[in-house]
Symmetry: C2
Subunit: 414 residues, 2 copies
């Protein structure tokens, strides 16, 4: 019953957290950063255990790299906490206030959500990061990391939870589930009323598993099958620059593009230049029939390609009739993350903005900007690709909800 017990403790901590002074939270975050650095030997020793176990299990090197901590990565976590302490606290702000004819003043006040569960995979840095963001936004957090990283995560939580408590944060504000039994996480996903929100962070399988099994509200994050549409009115030099940036600057992240759609009127002019440039940068191109009739060396794209997030130097290309077919294709195949149109035509730009059903819709810019830092939020807990509560990069404000505050002087309803 570990999750049930910890959720009860978290719920009661969350009541006090909601009232906590901003200075106490900021001081706690600084002390947590200090304590991470002080505890680095202990954390690295715990991490070594995890690495060894993973190696013995034959886990592949790229995953072991995600799991691995070193001094620099621990410093990175500590700096992350310091950055969070410097961000403005959204809790308690009244965003709008209006007066009703009967004299009631009605306002919307930002407040914490309550208890947030984070279900994640092998990167231990998520532990400190998520704990810091939840604390600053006044939420209690229950961390359920991957079993591969359990020793590392426990060591990190020991350090930061202790530092938080010493700084005046209620006990139980930061907790970790240590039981690796799958049943524990299954029950966690049904704790409506005790856990207010679950945020899964990790691969598509993890996220889909949480969405399909949780009755606690979930925020879906991360998967990015992003598109650039090059309109017939595009500045082609700009289009090429944006595509190269969005595909190759960091191909393994969710806001990198996976697809380019090209208006048929410019296919002869633009396609060969783009294919040559991307190929020279090591990108494998897969194309529709029309693409391959112009660039015969391009591999064939199949139906699966249109849905796939490669997270790699692969790009699928399709020639489309016009902006309407581009919009239709994107709304059919996109994961709802980020899409960009390159055009100098005002009407097409507006149509694209209005019709595309994704979290971030760009005109004449790289999709790589869909990021809490780049949007000016300072830090993010993830990028929501669903539509309820929050969409796109989720910063501190998206970790809060609101309540109506109504100030009267004796009003009753007639």
């Amino acid at each position: 019953m570990e999750v049930e017990v910890k959720a009860d403790i978290a719920k009661s901590a969350s009541r006090r957290l909601a009232m906590l002074d901003e200075n106490v939270k900021n001081e706690a975050l600084k002390n947590m950063a200090d304590e991470l650095i002080k505890s680095k030997d202990r954390i690295l020793k715990a991490n070594e255990k995890d690495i060894l176990a993973a190696e013995n299990k034959g886990v592949k090197e790229s995953l072991i790299d995600r799991l691995r901590l070193n001094e620099k990565r621990i410093e990175g976590m500590a700096n992350g906490l310091l950055e969070i302490s410097a961000l403005p606290d959204p809790v308690g702000a009244i965003e709008e206030m209006w007066k009703r004819p009967n004299g009631l003043q009605i306002g919307k006040m930002r407040c914490p959500i309550g208890v947030i569960g984070i279900i994640y995979e092998s990167r231990p840095n998520v532990t400190a990061d998520a704990a810091g963001l939840c604390l600053k936004s006044g939420n209690a957090v229950i961390l359920k990391g991957g079993s591969d990283a359990l020793n590392s995560n426990i060591a990190i939580v020991e350090a930061i939870a202790k530092a938080a408590e010493v700084s005046g944060v209620p006990k139980g504000a930061i907790q970790i589930i240590e039981n690796t039994d799958r049943e524990e996480v299954n029950r966690m996903m049904k704790l409506n009323g005790k856990i207010d929100l679950l945020i899964p962070r990790g691969g598509a399988n993890l996220i889909q598993n949480v969405i399909k099994n949780s009755t606690v509200p979930v925020i879906e994050t991360g998967v990015g099958n992003c598109h650039v549409f090059v309109d017939s009115y595009a500045d082609l030099e700009m289009a090429l620059k944006i595509i190269v940036n969005a595909k190759t600057q960091r191909p393994g992240v969710c806001n990198a593009i996976e697809k380019v759609l090209i208006h048929r009127d410019i296919r002869e002019k633009f396609l060969p230049i783009m294919v040559e440039k991307l190929t020279s940068l090591g990108v494998e191109i897969r194309g529709c029939e029309l693409t391959r009739s112009i660039c015969p060396d391009v591999k064939e794209a199949n139906e699966d390609d249109w849905r796939t997030e490669y997270l790699d130097l692969i790009l699928a290309v399709k020639i489309v009739e016009d902006v309407d077919s581009a919009i239709e294709h994107i709304n059919k195949y996109s994961s709802g993350h980020s899409e960009s149109i390159v055009t100098e035509n005002y009407t097409n730009a507006m149509k694209f903005i209005k019709s595309i059903d994704s979290a971030a819709v760009y005109v004449n810019a790289s999709t790589r900007f869909t990021d809490g830092g780049e949007f000016g939020f300072g830090a993010e807990i993830g990028i929501s690709t669903q539509k309820m509560h929050a969409r796109g990069p989720m910063g501190l404000k998206e970790l809060t909800t609101y309540k109506y505050v109504i100030l009267g002087n004796g009003q009753i309803r007639e």
Copy 2:
């Protein structure tokens, strides 16, 4: 496979609905209102069938009354649609826009959620009401009403869906599930990706069933175990007026109060007056031990009472130590709907506002104002008692989400 088929049609309709001109939506709502009036004989005949079947099943009179339509109620539905047509359309509004150092303009644009499922009980007026609100906010709706009202609901949907279509609304924007098999609604609750949001409307059992079984995002509505706390600094005359209003003006609704908490310092002075007044108005009082030591005729309140939404002329009363114990009691037992403090003390008022974890927190006013109309939203689809996405009265804006719109001139990420 009725829900799957209808959800696919709704999804495709929702794409076109998102783009629909505001005037087309308003015209459609007016035509829907007209068509309801024109179809009233057909609707009343269908309703008669439902009433007869319910009577034969021995359904109790109060439920049959909810089910019953007459000319006035049909006119009421039609007027509701006209009122919705007169409200401002939230879709397409850019609420904030900011500039980043690289010149990117980032804004948040309101857009429809997509496909909304409404699961409700026997009141057929919900059918027209929910369809109107979803249409105006650009969402496709799938209605799943109670089987008792099926003939009435089908007749209403026939009228309004036809009128909408003739007015230029895409086919499939308003659909009703006709299959009364429980499996149909069970599958509806798992249609992630096809249905974007479920809103259950009805009794606590219906709502809890949807929350516990749905993996589609749900908005929990309705249950109101609301409190008034009378502080030692209260204007006692005002307190009495507010309590009488909040308890007796309409006891069967969710924003009526079910509990009064009284600061111990004023118990001797306030309690007897309040008990006398409420008793004279036909309210049954149940009290804590201290309450009963002052007013011995008051019945005993047990643990269950503190959690119960009576929806009736019953009130439970508790004497508390101070504002902190009032807050603790409310946060423990409340359903998170509406709570009010009566006080002239500024610090206590601010503490109450900041600490109470409910959708609407009042100072010196009746809780009966928690209502879309009273808040100035014009109409509401329900009152959310959960914390994700929307809290409190949900109007047209709460039936939308947002997307980020990013306007650039060739920005790429370095």
